[in-house]
Symmetry: C2
DNA sequence: CGTATGTTTGACGCGAATCAATTTTCGTGG
DNA sequence: CCACGAAAATTGATTCGCGTCAAACATACG
């Protein structure tokens, strides 16, 4: 299905000096060429999760995989990038996933600039660009959840994520029904319900009678579950 | 985890008339206000997959779910959007997923302009914006695959997707190993291998001895499998 | 109240994972 | 070119997590 960042357009033309380039991602100006070609061999790492995201990449030959890992080694590949595809675009300072060569391959690395402009953009289009990248980060994290996590791990991650958005980080008011939780986590309502009562019996969470709010009694336990 | 398009920034300030707004997504200029508030009740549809993507939305109160459906009703929610989150950003003319209210809620609708500028942008930043949105679309489709499809359906979708990228749309040269396919589709190598030989026995595909290339003998059968 | 809707609980079955073994492919050096 | 060992892919037997089916229970609402 997905080989993201698909893009058949040839290497970008040099923008006229005063063209309205978005401040978010600007080509290197000092360099007469817009990017540097780099070569990799099979399974070689192009960048790792946590690396400084100084470059944006485009595949020239061969293929690349971008993936996320759980601490026990389970892996979810978010996308394959083939000829012409971009990868490594980030909202923040660092890469949120690892990129490795599928086989021998060549990529162009474009230097990024003005990254910090991203936080707190004021125009609608800047906000949208930021929202878009955040959404993509979240989508990648969610793919890891959907593809590689157990029911317990999914629920734990979900609760921790929701709690982050509450004023009191230990108390959740669920704004959605069980069926929505199930369809979000790739489970059934029965499994969602069973897993919640299981966590309740273990004393990790507590739920009042109407079951629409959840108290996180043992956040550390949830974090342990969230592989 | 994921409640995509997270954005705590207040409503965007009106950009100065000549600020370098990206041509991709531009606020309505004719209107003195930047958006229109709309109210929805529980399960009410905000927009549907296929609708014209004339607006971009932001949650003001309550919550929204964006989801994709398979023809038999299986559903995958890509994200929940709560206070301050944007949703409905699209690369093309139409929405790629459905948005519905989780409960009573209010959203601001920002009118979009200059959408067609998207195709064939020439500067690097325009290409990146396009790549970013394409990647998000693909990530959403992949979430549906990971969360709701069977092994056969996953493999079928994967083969059809790869075939699209080949010169001959009926012949695939796999650039990656089985383990990569497995980690992309949320399966094990054993299941990938078994499913491929199963499809081969059914006469849907054919593989030579070295098993690195695949001929699609019955594309229609694959499309039927790809729910 | 009574009906509809949402949630929980239980019994059972199936699809995919796990465990294990074999076969094939491929890289390396004789 | 062939022999060897390592890595990749396939195949089989078995297990198990989660889905399915079904029913009871709770909550919301007219």
């Amino acid at each position: 299905m997905q080989t993201a960042f698909r893009n058949d357009i040839p290497a970008p033309a040099l923008a006229p000096a005063l063209s309205p380039v978005s401040p978010l991602l600007r080509p290197e100006r000092e360099s007469p060429t817009l990017g540097t070609v780099r070569t990799f061999t099979k399974d070689e790492e192009i960048f790792m999760e946590g690396d400084n995201a100084a470059f944006v990449y485009k595949v020239v030959s061969g293929g690349v995989r971008t993936c996320k890992l759980l601490n026990d080694g389970r892996r979810q590949i978010a996308a394959f990038h083939l000829l012409g595809d971009f990868f490594g675009i980030e909202v923040g300072q660092e890469h949120r996933f690892t990129a490795e060569a599928l086989g021998d391959c060549k990529v162009i690395a474009y230097r990024r600039r003005g990254l910090d402009v991203l936080s707190g953009g004021e125009t609608l289009s800047e906000q949208l660009m930021t929202a878009l990248m955040r959404a993509l980060e979240r989508a990648q994290a969610h793919m890891l959840l959907l593809g590689r996590k157990s029911a317990q791990e999914k629920i734990a991650a979900f609760l921790l994520d929701l709690a982050e958005r509450e004023i009191d980080h230990r108390h959740i008011e669920l704004p959605m029904a069980r069926i929505d939780v199930a369809d979000y986590l790739g489970l059934t309502i029965e499994t969602v319900s069973r897993t919640l009562t299981q966590l309740e019996r273990q004393g990790v969470i507590a739920m009042p009678a109407h079951r629409r709010s959840i108290m996180l009694k043992d956040k550390a336990a949830l974090q342990r579950l969230d592989a």
